[in-house]
Structure formats: C-alpha cells, structure tokens
C-alpha cells in the first residue's frame, strides 16, 4: 500500500510539473523553461525616496539582462563606423559623462550640441535629456544611436551587425530565453545595465551613514549648500528633476531653447533639467552646453552673472545668490565630497573582457 501511494505520488507530481509547464505563458522575458535567470534588485539606499515609477516594469532586472546590456553599452557596432559605442561619451572614470569635453565627439568629426550628462541613479529620473524629451529609459538609446552627430547608425543596421555574432546569440538566449535579437530586447537589456548604475557611496553618503566626518570646510560648505542650492539640487539625489531657467546668456550659434523645443510652450523657453550634483567634480564642464569649465565659474555665475531679465528666469534666482568668497571655497569643497570613487572603479560596470 505504501509503495502504491509513493508511486502515485511520483506520478501525480510529475504530471503536475509537465502540465504546469505546458500552460506557462510563452513570455520571453522570463527566460527559457528549465533555465533560470538570476534576478537582481535595485538598491534603494537608506533615506532615499522610492522611485516615482518602476523603470524595470515589464523588464525584470536579471544578471543575464544586465550583462547583455553591459556588452552592448561598450560595443562600437552600435555606431556607423564602429568608433562610437555608448561608452565613448559616457566614460566610467567620469561618472559616465564625457571627461573634460564641453561637447562630445560624434561620427565624421562632428560635435554634439549639448554636454553629455552623467549616467547613474536613472531609476529616480522621470525624463531624460537636458530638455526632458525622452520619456522612458528604454527608448533613450534610440536618440544617440540614430543622431547624425553622435553614433549616426540606423537600428536596422545595428541589428544586422549583431545577429551573426554567436556571442550575442548566447547572451540574448540567457537573458530572454531564445536567440531572437530584436530592437525591443536590445533596448531592454541596455536599460537594465544603465538603470543599474547607482551612486550612493560618496564621502557625503559615508558621513550620512556615520562612517566618516566632514572637514570643517566641507561642513561649512554643506551649510551653505542647504541654504542656497538644495531647493533645486535636492538631497539625496541632488536634483529635483525639474526644468528651470538659470539665467545663462543665450548662445548665438546654438540658440538652444531647451524644454520649449519639446513642449512647444513659450513658458518653457530656456529651461533645462536640473542636473544632479553627485560626482560633480568629474562631470565638468558644466551647464547644458558645457560653457563653465570649473566649479568656481559655476558659483560665480550664480552670484554675479545670472541674466535676471529673462522672461522665464527661475523665481529662486531673480536676486542672484549671495555667496561670499569664503562660502564659495567651502561650497566647492563640499561638492567634491559628492564624488563616489567606488562607482568610478566598480569592475561590474567596466568594459567586459
């Protein structure tokens, strides 16, 4: 009797397994049946707000997807002549901005028209680009890939170049369950890699966690920061993700109207996204068009050179900012405490071998 029960048990369980497997939905994102993907979780550091939207909704974050995205990010084949992978403008040692370049270099000796933004903590960013024109992390790469003064390639050609590569066949299979290479999977994988780049281990963060102490100058700079800067460059992300006109003179060649180019609304004229100040030591030059090469120049802009006469000038900057010379030195020292050295060297985000 006992034996019969155990045979029945085995039979029932195996039947169950087979049947359940058969009625599983053929959702490629969840991977191959029998082959398990390794789920990853976005880290929400203590004291941080929850992201307002889940950038990984419909794109479950996995180690396999991340690794595929990482390879794509460093692959020059995403550009027309092979010379411009995403990483050519988004360099890890510069917190994924372009180091020491007002504008980045694009295909055929071209320049971009805006300063390359740093890439990290994107899960907390609702819209991307200086003008907020991109509404989802997955569709962002379409812009630089196809832009004639960036990577200058078509998505059709990118896929044609990737498809014969057996390494990609393997990586797409482990990430998405089969070797199909299409734009959706490519973009989702890139989103997994880019969305995983996080910065929360600067000296500032260590101080907040009680693991380090500010110098006197940094502490004074922090006090000035909280009084003069924090309403737009809001902690802990050091941006409130809003669009504001900070009163820069309009460049006569670029004539960049910023956010208005997206919304068509004159009240958005000359407004640009407030950039994060995390890793600001490395993301120079500053401003949407990289016109300021040092923190000193930036602070001088806010205390002396704001074009307060502009119609859409931010109300908080109407009277410029009162910052003394001593406060300026301390503020710059505080801003350098936002450098996350771990991120800059983290082998997880480096070019895959």
């Amino acid at each position: 009797m006992k034996k019969r029960i155990s045979i029945f048990l085995v039979a029932t369980v195996s039947l169950l397994v087979v049947l359940l497997d058969a009625c599983k939905k053929g959702d490629a994102v969840t991977g191959v049946p029998g082959k398990v993907t390794t789920p990853l979780k976005l880290i929400i550091p203590a004291g941080w707000p929850q992201p307002s939207t889940d950038i990984f909704a419909g794109n479950p974050l996995t180690e396999e997807g991340f690794q595929l995205g990482r390879k794509l990010f460093y692959d020059g084949r995403l550009s027309k002549d092979g010379n411009f992978p995403c990483a050519s403008c988004h360099q890890q040692f510069a917190a994924f901005a372009t180091y020491d370049h007002q504008f980045s270099h694009g295909f055929n000796n071209t320049f971009t028209t805006r300063n390359a933004p740093a890439i990290f903590n994107l899960a907390w960013m609702k819209e991307m680009h200086w003008d907020g024109g991109i509404n989802h992390i997955e569709v962002q790469p379409l812009a630089p890939i196809t832009n004639q003064n960036e990577m200058a390639e078509s998505m059709i050609n990118v896929l044609l170049k990737l498809k014969p590569d057996t390494a990609y066949a393997r990586l797409f299979t482990s990430a998405f369950g089969d070797a199909t290479i299409n734009s959706q999977r490519m973009l989702k994988a890139l989103a997994q890699y880019m969305g995983s780049i996080q910065s929360y281990n600067s000296k500032y963060d260590q101080v907040k966690r009680g693991e380090a102490a500010f110098t006197v100058s940094e502490q004074n700079g922090y006090t000035t920061f909280k009084a003069k800067c924090n309403s737009c460059h809001t902690e802990p992300l050091f941006t409130d993700n809003s669009f504001r006109n900070n009163g820069l003179a309009v460049d006569p060649f670029l004539k960049d109207v910023g956010r208005m180019g997206i919304t068509g609304n004159p009240s958005d004229s000359l407004k640009f996204k407030v950039p994060t100040l995390r890793n600001v030591e490395l993301t120079f030059p500053y401003m949407h068009d990289g016109r300021a090469f040092s923190l000193s120049q930036v602070i001088d802009h806010y205390r002396s050179f704001i074009h307060t006469e502009q119609a859409t000038i931010d109300p908080l900057l109407k009277n410029k900012l009162l910052i003394s010379d001593q406060e300026k030195v301390d503020l710059a020292n505080f801003l350098r405490s936002l450098t996350d050295k771990e991120l800059l060297k983290d082998p997880r985000f480096a070019q895959p071998l």
């Binding site: 048990l9 169950l16 991109i134 896929l159 989103a191 068509g264």
Partner: protein, 249 residues
Amino acid sequence: MQTRFYLLVFAIVLLSGCQKTLETDSGNVAVKLTNMLGDGPITLESKTYINAVAEPYTVSKLRYYITNVRLIGTSSAAEAESYHLIDAEKPESLQFSFTAPSATFNSIEFLLGVDSTRNVSGAQTGALDPLNDMFWTWNSGYVMLKIEGNSPVSPVAGKKFEYHLGGFSGPNNVLKKIQLPFPAGKLASIQKGKTCEISIMANLDKLWAGPNALSIAATPVCTTPGAQALKIADNYQHMFTLSDVVNNK
C-alpha cells in the same frame, strides 16, 4: 489515502488556474482598408493628384496607425493587442482579423494613432517597433500618420512635402477616436466559425480640406507635435467611411 486525496485536490486547483477560457461561441472579424485618393485607390509615385487648393502633387509614402479596434453593440468586443501599421507600400498591411464572441454589433470603433500609454511605456515590438520608422527618437512618441511626396509648388529642397503627425499628450494630442456605425440592415453579425468582413475606405483627400485648408506651398513640412499637426489631424479624422459589411463569409 488522505495524501492521495489532497494531491488530487491540489492538482485540480492548480490546473484550473491556468485553464484557458474556451471561446466556443465566437467568429472571425476581418477588417479591410482601402486608401482612396482622387477617383480611386491611391497610387504611389506615378500618379499626380490635385489637392483642395489646386496644388498638384504625388505621394511617395503613406503610413498610419489603427489601434484599439472594438466592435460595439449591447456589449463590446475588443481586439487583443490591437496595433496595426497601415502602409500603402505593403498591401498585406491593409487587412487584419481577430475573433469576437457571437453577437450582433452596431458599429466599429478604433483609434487613429497609438494610445498615450504605449507612447510612454518603453521599447515596443511588432507594429510599434521603432524599426518601422514611426517613432520620434528626440521627443519620445509615435508618429500617428506619415505622408510624404513631391509637388512643384513646394518651396523646400527636392520639391518635397512631408507631414509626420504626432503628439499624444495635453494640448498636443492628435489622437482621434473613430466610430463608424453600420447601416441598418448591415449590422455586423458574428457567428460561430464564420467570418464577418468589414470594409473601410480611407479618403486621403480629407487631409487637405475640412476645417483647415492645407497648402503645400504654405506648409511643406510638419514634423513636430503642435498647432499645425493638430490642424491637419482635425482634417484627416474625417477620412474614414464604412463601405461594406458582409456577414457569414
């Protein structure tokens, strides 16, 4: 014995959870579109047409989205994952079909364009794949209708005209909900195992006329969301007419 019983119950509960609803009483709906221009179906490149303001032109490209297709009666029947890119260069794109429960319906409804949700939901595939060249990369969102061609009156290089019409949010929304009632005596009757064929004509002449006359000489290009795109969309929303319903095919 008890173990056996519980296992059986467990199995039944689990399996019933994944059972598909059996659509025993349903039929097929086939939608056929004909793009009309001038006196007949549109001819790309080779035929010269005259618009409402007497400008001659040829058409090289015509694409638009029909999405969220539903039949409406006492109940409504929506097509699942309902996204269709109609492309004048691809005859196979001019028809699509889906299943609907057996019932009689009074009208067909669809969106001319891609609903706002899919405009903000990241990378899509199929009809919505950015490879179809109907997605703006610099200002995320779909081009709902694209028509390109040439005209001797065009003031731009290559004598081209180019309208890429989109915008899905706030005041820039060009999405149009189209509802076409079936005439009395020609209601769509879905019957088990049969196909109901619904033929729709899209009269592209409406692009130029309607509330806002459009001139190639004055407006050869419109490729951003905004006031001009809204004006053109207000014209072309009237382009659809129902031409026939054939039941029991």
